[in-house]
Amino acid sequence: MEGRKVDMNIELKSKEPASVPVFGDQKRLLRHAMMPHMLCPGCGHGIVLDAMLSVLSDRYENLDKVAIVAGIGCSSRIVGYIDACTLHTTHGRPLSFATGLKLARPDLDVIVVTGDGDGVSIGGNHLIHAARRNVDITCVLLNNEIYGMTGGQAAPTTVLGAYTTTTPQGNAQHSFDVSELVKAAGATFVARTSSYRPQVFGEMFAQALDHVGFSFVEVMTDCTEYFGRINRFGTGPDLLMSQARYDPEIDADLAARPTVEEISNPQPVRPVLPTGLLHRSNRLTLEETLNVAGGRSSRSNENRVVSGSARRDL
């Protein structure tokens, strides 16, 4: 790891005029030949992609030893634009591929990019099991509350009452709180952010990469073409701004303030989900319990609690 970290704190002592990018040079990690990308105008996934590149460019000189695994869907397509070892797998299964890859090559940093349909619906089983095993990979789930690529069908994250192409009368099914699900399944790092806050996402993503064990970052990002249009939430900027309130702290503060009268908004109300780092704990990783590579992780969390009941101690 150490060798691959880049110190971005460049001291430019040269007196010659220079050009410095405001946010570092993450675009060097982009597969320029593939651009422009295939995402719709205003799709938040692009913002997440840029933020991911930004974090990766801070940490790695190149992504030779970084494998990014994705499933199927709009979210998963973003990995194709990252100049890393990228694996675009089958619908719902990226975590399976990633688990195998990580066990085969514990020295690789394995990142999974998935979507809400991919990761929670068809791949829900793999998600909870990856969390249970605490395999040392980082999973980024882009939650756009809908199936974007297939044309805007209801997903398990579509909130009750929301309109989609398969819920023309409003969604009749309750939705998952994905982060809670993953946390309950045993993930040792769970965070949620939104595409309106790429920097917060970056911070969480960086912490997730540092974390040893299954780390999960959910990003609320909006589908402009379907979720936005069908629910009359507007286009890119509108949806982006509508994420502004994704914070239970803010929600609680607003609820405590006096109102002139009851606020009645005929729009479907977007639920306010907790954001930020939601959970962090330490336990042995799958690599350790399986004794992969001599049971020694290439990385370590500080102050790790190694339970006496861990398998290798038996």
Binding site: Q199, I263, T275
Partner: protein, 665 residues
């Protein structure tokens, strides 16, 4: 001449004799009980009586002492405190006080109440009287039963007004007598006299103040109070129904009264000739009198207490007693012109400005220009170098619920017709999203014009007005807009109060002026009833929802209404939530939050590195959360979140937690 007015003369004498007394005999003034002083002083702090009243308070007190039965008006700086103070010092049984929907309503209520026998006080600011002009012009025709006194507060210098107009002309135009007090004591006395005069002469009477008189405090020695006037309505259609036939007769009566009033004006004590020297004579009134007395203590002064009608003969006589006659008056040359008509030559506006407020310094300068005073090259300040200081513009309060709609309207590039209220400040940087502001309620009408005629180059048209303003004058133009199928959006900024004037209730608040429960008018229902098909209510503290509501409304054809509903952060009660701070490590100085124009948000001057970081003043933050919502960096956090010490020793959150922020776990 009535007995009461003679009384007033006597009280004038009383006043000068008591001038330096402690006012022990004062009735019904603020009595403030003083708590035990802290341990340091063993001496008990004595009770003290205070008799320092503002002009507005003096008028309220005078009304109460005149046995007024009803007081109505619409809030407007600088007249507002009058009714508030009257409500404070009286009981409901004594005086029925409340705010009217607008000034015309107030005057109509007043005339009706007068016919029912009560004495009535009406309060308004100068532009408010414009609203009531229709009724004002005809009211002297009908006359009064109980006395009707209209407090008209002018605002020279436009401290809080959209124009500068000299309402002395309105008195002349309407043929209504006008008193002009110069300080609180006069305000009290003239108001008492005005009620008497109103009944004596069967006409409403205007008491005109200016900001300086309304808002200055000085001592007031009151006169004995009268009981509430008793009377009842008597049918008198010839006098009360202004059909042309009746009105013709009443106009003649009105003109007759005016000519008799002119005679009356010659003898009244409110106009005072002060002869001190035969060189210089100054005709003046109101606050200008006080300046003249300070600057030219030895000059002869004709002090006018009633500026309409004017005492022609006495003025001519005064002019004859001095070598040089000057007129010192604020705003228009009302007195100067009148003197010219009377054939008296006097100079005024040649030396004194016709706009803005006079001040002792301006009066001195005027006299210097007139050659009466020698210009003294006096060093004004001790050091001689008074630092130049940039102006401090008025701005929306920290946490004002009006900021978000303007922030969004600017981003959406709408043509915004504004209105009169706090939200007029949406026109100032950095919100700077208001394109027009004309008069109360004019936003919607102007929007109709913009939408129906000419072109806005494709920009959507949005009218923005407050809840109180909407009820005041926004409903008729809304109806007009619906009927014309104008393509516009009306944003009603509902903060549940008349905030700009200090938080007065209005018909859509569930309170009256005394804080008692009152029926609440339903603004959304009014809009729907007017035929608006899209009426959405949103929380302006929810940036995303507000944006979406505005966008949806703007995208809709025809008239749409968005009501942003959130209580005023300052009045009638201060509302404060958990405050927010900036995590300096996360802030990248993008300045998006600064676009809200919140006074609590500024550069953090403790960090000199670039880019600058934003700091939230904990003393000003009201915890509205709006900046935290729009911060794309998530750098604005509630105090206590992010592992930060809630408050450091210096009373504010320490900068940066050093623990990686946002950890809720």
């Amino acid at each position: 001449m009535s007995e009461e007015i003679n009384q007033a003369v006597e009280s004038e004498a009383e006043r000068s004799s008591e001038k330096n007394g402690n006012g022990a005999s004062v009735v019904r003034l603020d009595t403030l009980e003083v708590k035990q002083a802290p341990p340091k002083s063993s001496q008990k702090v004595a009770k003290t009586r205070v008799d320092l009243l503002s002009g507005n308070e003096s008028i309220a007190l005078a009304a109460l002492h005149s046995g007024v039965g009803m007081a109505v008006g619409y809030p407007g700086t600088p007249s507002t405190e009058t009714l508030e103070y009257l409500a404070k010092i009286s009981s409901d049984a004594e005086v029925y006080v409340d705010w009217s929907t607008n000034e015309k309503v107030a005057l109509d209520v007043a005339v009706g109440g007068s016919l029912a026998g009560d004495r009535i006080l009406v309060t308004t600011k100068h532009v408010g009287l414009n609203v009531a002009m229709d009724s004002l012009m005809t009211s002297p025709f009908i006359g009064v039963n109980g006395g009707v006194v209209i407090l008209n507060a002018d605002d020279p210098g436009m401290h809080s007004s959209q124009n500068e107009q000299d309402n002395r002309y309105i008195a002349r135009f309407a043929g209504v007598p006008m008193f002009e007090p110069a300080d609180s004591q006069e305000a009290y006395e003239f108001t008492r006299a005005a009620f008497e005069l109103s009944e004596t002469w069967d006409t409403p009477v205007i008491v005109r103040t200016t900001t300086r008189v309304s808002h200055s405090r000085s001592r007031v020695i009151p006169m004995p109070a009268q009981a509430r006037r008793e009377g009842e309505f008597q049918r008198n259609p010839h006098k009360y129904v202004m059909l042309p036939g009746n009105a013709k007769a009443r106009h003649v009566a009105h003109l007759d009264r005016l000519s008799r009033l002119e005679t009356w004006a010659e003898g009244i004590p409110f106009n005072r000739e002060e002869i001190r020297s035969n060189k210089i004579g100054v005709v003046t009134s109101s606050i200008s009198y006080e300046y003249v007395r300070d600057i030219l203590p030895d000059a002869s002064v004709f002090k006018l207490g009633v500026t309409f009608p004017l005492p022609k003969e006495r003025l001519r006589s005064f002019a004859g007693k001095v070598e040089k006659l000057l007129v010192v008056e604020e705003l228009d040359p009302f007195l100067e012109e009148a003197l010219a008509v009377f054939g008296v030559s006097a100079e005024g506006k040649k030396f004194f400005p016709r706009f803005g407020e006079l001040s002792p310094s301006l009066v001195r300068e005027g006299f210097e220009k007139a050659g009466i005073l020698e210009a003294v090259k006096e060093e004004v300040s001790s050091s001689g170098t008074v630092p130049s200081v940039p102006p401090r513009f008025p701005l929306l309060c920290a946490g004002c619920s009006h900021a978000t709609p303007f922030f969004i309207l600017k981003e959406l590039d709408a043509v915004v017709t504004g209105d009169i209220g706090c939200y007029t400040l949406g026109a100032t940087e950095p919100l700077a999203s208001m394109d027009t502001c004309l008069s109360m309620g004019s936003s919607i009408g102007m929007a109709v014009g913009l939408a129906k005629a000419g072109s806005t180059a494709g920009r959507p048209v949005v009218a923005v007005l407050g809840d109180s303003t909407f009820l005041h004058a926004g409903i008729p133009p809304l109806i007009d807009a619906v009927h014309r199928e104008a393509n516009l959006t009306v944003v009603i900024l509902d903060n549940g109060t008349t905030a700009m004037t200090g938080g007065q209730p209005h018909p859509a608040t569930a309170q009256n002026i005394r804080g008692e429960k009152a029926p609440k008018v339903d603004i959304p229902a009014i809009c729907s009833a007017a035929g608006v098909s899209m009426v959405n209510i949103v929380d302006p503290y929810d940036v995303g929802a507000t944006r979406m509501a505005l966008l949806n409304a703007m995208n809709k054809d025809g008239v749409s209404v968005v009501i942003t509903a959130r209580s005023c952060v300052e009045s009638p009660v201060k509302s404060r939530g958990r405050i927010y701070y900036t995590d300096s490590k996360a802030c990248d100085g993008c300045q998006l939050c600064m676009n809200l124009g919140c006074p609590a948000i500024g550069w953090d001057l403790s960090i000199l590195e670039m880019p600058r970081r934003v700091r939230i003043d904990p003393g000003l933050c009201s915890g509205c959360t709006v900046c935290a919502q729009i911060c794309p960096q998530g750098a604005i956090l509630p105090v206590g979140v992010g592992g930060t010490e809630p408050l450091s020793e210096s009373g504010e959150p320490s900068i940066g937690s050093g623990k990686g922020g946002r950890d809720l776990a």
